[in-house]
C-alpha cells in the first residue's frame, strides 16, 4: 500500500525528474519555434533574392545553433532516470512508451546528422533551394520529433490502445493508431508546439527590441520584429484555441485535475470561469486535504460550463463530487473505484500465485480476464486506485495548479497584446519612439519561458498522484533504491544543467552583442 512506500525516495525521484524536465524544457521550445522563423526568413530571402534577408537568417540561425547544440541530448537523461529510479513504471508501460520514443530517436538522428549540417555548413555549397528545403525539414523534423515524445507523455495522462499481460506484467500495444490519435496527444501536441512558436517569437522580438534600444542593426531588428510579430500573433491565438480544446478533453479524462485548476470543490451548473482569484483556507477539510475558498474572484459567468459541456447550463463536477461520488450525475466515488482497483489487484495476485505453483489452468482462466471488456472497463481501468487507503489521496495540490494555470493563461493573453502592439508600432514606423515597448518586449523573454514551464507544472503536478492516470500511482512506480543515491544525482544534475545554461546564455549573449556579420 501507499503508506509502506519510502516517501523520501518518491519525493527525491520526483524532484530529480522535475529538475531535469524543467531544464530540458528551457532548450526545446526555442528550437521548435525558431526553426520555423528561420524557414520563413530564408524563404523570403530565396523568393526575393535580397541579401539582407540572408544576413538576418544567418544571424538567427547562429542563436538557433547555440540553443540546439547545448540542448541536444539533455532529454536522454530523463530516459536514464526511467531505468534507474522508475523501473516498475518503465517495465509496466512496456512497448507503449518504447515505440514512440524509438521513432523519435530515429527521426532525431537523421535530422541532426543531415539537415542541420546542411543548414550550417551548406551556405554557398549547396543550391539555394536545397538549403531552404533543409531548413524547412529541420523545422518540420524537430516538431515531429516532439510529437512522439508528447504521444508517450499523453498515454500517461490517458492510457489507451493497450492490453495488460499479467504474465509479463507489461502493457502491450493493441492499437498504434489509438495511441497516436489519443485525444490528449492531439491536443497536447498542438498546444505545446504552438506555445514553442510563441516563445521563439518573443525571443526574436525581445532581442530585436534590444538592438533598437541600442540603436544598432535597426534594419535587421525591424524586419525580424515583423516576422516574429506575425508568427507570434498567429501562434498565440492558436495557443488560446488549442488550450480551450485541451481543457475540454481534460474535463473528460482527468476531471480531478480540471476541478483542481479551478479550485472547484462544489460541483455546479452555470459554472463561471475564474479569471483572477486568491485562495484562502476555508477551515473545512476533504479528508486530510484543505478546502480552499476563492476570494477576490473575478469570473466570466457560465464560461466553465460552456468550456466543459458546450452548454451554459451544463454541470461541472467539483472535487467533492469526484471524491465522494455523485450518483445523480453518474459520478463514481473514489471509494468505489478503490474497491474495483483492489479487486483487479486481487485477480493479478491470484494469477501470480497460480504461476508460482504452476497451475496453468487457473493462469489461463485469469489471463483471459485481462482481455475481457467487462473486466478491463469496470475493474482493471481502476487498477491504480487499489493502492490507496483514503479517497482524498487522489486530490493534487490545488494552490500550485490554480495559480500556475492563472499565471500561464494571463501571460498568454499578455503575449497576444504584445504581438498586436509590435505589429501596430511597426506599421506606424513608431517602434523606436516607444522605448517603453522595446523594454517591455525585452523583459518579456523570461516571461515566455515562465509561461511555458508553468504549462508543464499544471500538466504534471495536476496529474498527481498518478504516474499513469488511474493505473499506477507514483509511489508504486519507483525502484527499490536508496533515497540518498537519488539525492546525490539530483545535485549532480543541478550542477551540470546550471553549467550548461550558463554556457548557453554567455555564448548567446556574446553572439548577440557581436551581431550579424557584415
Amino acid at each position: 500500500m501507499i503508506e509502506n512506500i519510502d516517501l523520501s525516495l518518491v519525493n527525491w525521484s520526483r524532484a530529480q525528474f522535475a529538475l531535469t524536465a524543467v531544464y530540458h524544457w528551457l532548450f526545446v521550445p526555442l528550437t521548435l519555434g525558431l526553426s520555423f522563423i528561420l524557414a520563413f526568413m530564408e524563404t523570403i530571402y530565396v523568393r526575393t533574392g535580397d541579401e539582407v534577408w540572408k544576413k538576418i537568417t544567418k544571424f538567427w540561425m547562429t542563436l538557433f545553433g547555440i540553443n540546439f547544440a547545448i540542448g541536444v541530448a539533455t532529454g536522454i537523461i530523463l530516459e536514464f532516470e526511467f531505468g534507474t529510479n522508475w523501473s516498475n513504471y518503465s517495465w509496466f508501460v512496456g512497448d507503449i512508451f518504447g515505440a514512440p520514443l524509438a521513432v523519435e530517436g530515429i527521426l532525431a538522428f537523421f535530422l541532426e546528422s543531415t539537415f542541420v549540417a546542411v543548414m550550417f555548413f551548406g551556405w554557398n555549397k549547396v543550391g539555394k533551394k536545397f538549403h531552404l528545403t533543409s531548413t524547412w525539414l529541420v523545422a518540420v523534423g524537430a516538431n515531429l520529433s516532439a510529437l512522439w515524445i508528447l504521444v508517450a507523455n499523453s498515454w500517461m495522462e490517458n492510457p489507451v490502445g493497450m492490453v495488460f499481460n499479467p504474465d509479463t506484467a507489461r502493457n502491450e500495444m493493441a492499437s498504434f493508431r489509438e495511441v497516436v490519435l489519443n485525444p490528449v496527444a492531439v491536443d497536447k501536441f498542438l498546444h505545446t508546439v504552438t506555445s514553442g512558436f510563441v516563445l521563439a517569437s518573443i525571443f526574436v522580438l525581445g532581442i530585436s527590441a534590444w538592438f533598437l534600444i541600442r540603436k544598432r542593426e535597426e534594419h535587421l531588428a525591424r524586419k525580424s520584429i515583423l516576422v516574429a510579430g506575425i508568427f507570434g500573433l498567429v501562434a498565440s491565438v492558436a495557443v488560446a484555441l488549442t488550450g480551450d480544446s485541451s481543457a475540454r478533453t481534460l474535463a473528460q479524462v482527468q476531471p480531478v485535475k480540471f476541478a483542481a485548476m479551478e479550485a472547484l470543490y462544489e460541483g455546479k451548473s452555470d459554472a463561471g470561469l475564474t479569471v483572477i482569484g486568491a485562495l484562502t483556507d476555508s477551515g473545512e477539510r476533504l479528508g486530510e486535504k484543505k478546502v480552499h475558498d476563492v476570494k477576490l474572484r473575478i469570473e466570466i459567468p457560465r464560461l466553465l460550463s460552456i468550456m466543459t459541456t458546450g452548454k451554459g447550463s451544463g454541470y461541472v463536477p467539483g472535487l467533492k463530487d469526484l471524491v465522494n461520488g455523485n450518483p445523480e450525475k453518474g459520478i463514481l466515488s473514489v471509494s468505489e473505484m478503490m474497491e474495483r482497483g483492489k479487486y483487479a489487484r486481487q485477480v493479478l495476485t491470484d494469477y501470480k500465485m497460480a504461476k508460482e505453483i504452476g497451475d496453468t489452468e487457473t493462469m489461463e482462466a485469469l489471463s483471459a480476464r485481462f482481455k475481457e471488456s467487462d473486466f478491463t472497463d469496470n475493474y482493471f481501468r481502476y487498477f491504480g486506485y487499489g493502492y490507496f487507503e483514503h479517497p482524498w489521496q487522489v486530490v493534487p495540490s490545488v494552490p500550485v495548479i490554480f495559480y500556475s494555470f492563472r499565471v500561464m493563461v494571463g501571460l498568454g493573453f499578455f503575449f497576444i497584446l504584445l504581438f498586436i502592439l509590435a505589429l501596430w508600432f511597426y506599421r506606424r514606423e513608431a517602434l523606436e519612439r516607444n522605448r517603453w515597448f522595446l523594454w517591455l518586449a525585452l523583459l518579456s523573454i523570461p516571461l515566455a519561458y515562465l509561461a511555458s514551464e508553468l504549462g508543464w507544472i499544471v500538466t504534471e503536478m495536476g496529474r498527481q498522484p498518478w504516474i499513469i492516470q488511474n493505473l499506477m500511482p507514483v509511489g508504486v512506480a519507483v525502484s527499490n533504491i536508496s533515497a540518498g543515491a537519488v539525492q546525490t544525482t539530483f545535485w549532480l544534475f543541478a550542477v551540470l544543467f546550471t553549467a550548461l545554461l550558463v554556457a548557453e546564455i554567455s555564448i548567446m549573449v556574446k553572439q548577440i552583442k557581436t551581431g550579424p556579420k557584415h
Binding site: A69, I70, N85, S90, F92, P166, N480
Partner: protein, 75 residues
Amino acid sequence: MTRITTAISNIFRFYYDGFRTMSWWGKRVWVIILIKLFIMFLILKIFFFPDFLKVNFGSDRERGDYVLEQLTGNN
C-alpha cells in the same frame, strides 16, 4: 562504384570543410557537446544510472516476476 566513391568523398569533404571553417561559437559549442556527452554517457550512465532491472535480474522472465511481485505486494 566510382559514383558512390565520389558521393562519399563529396559528403566527407562537405563535413570536413564545415568543421574546418567553423566560427568561434561553433567550435565552443562542439567542445561543450563533447564534454556533455562524456559526462552523460561515460560518467552518469555508467556510475550513477544503471538500469535497475537489467543489473539485478538476468532475464526478462525474472524482471517480469519481480515487477509482478511489486505490483501485487501487500495485497
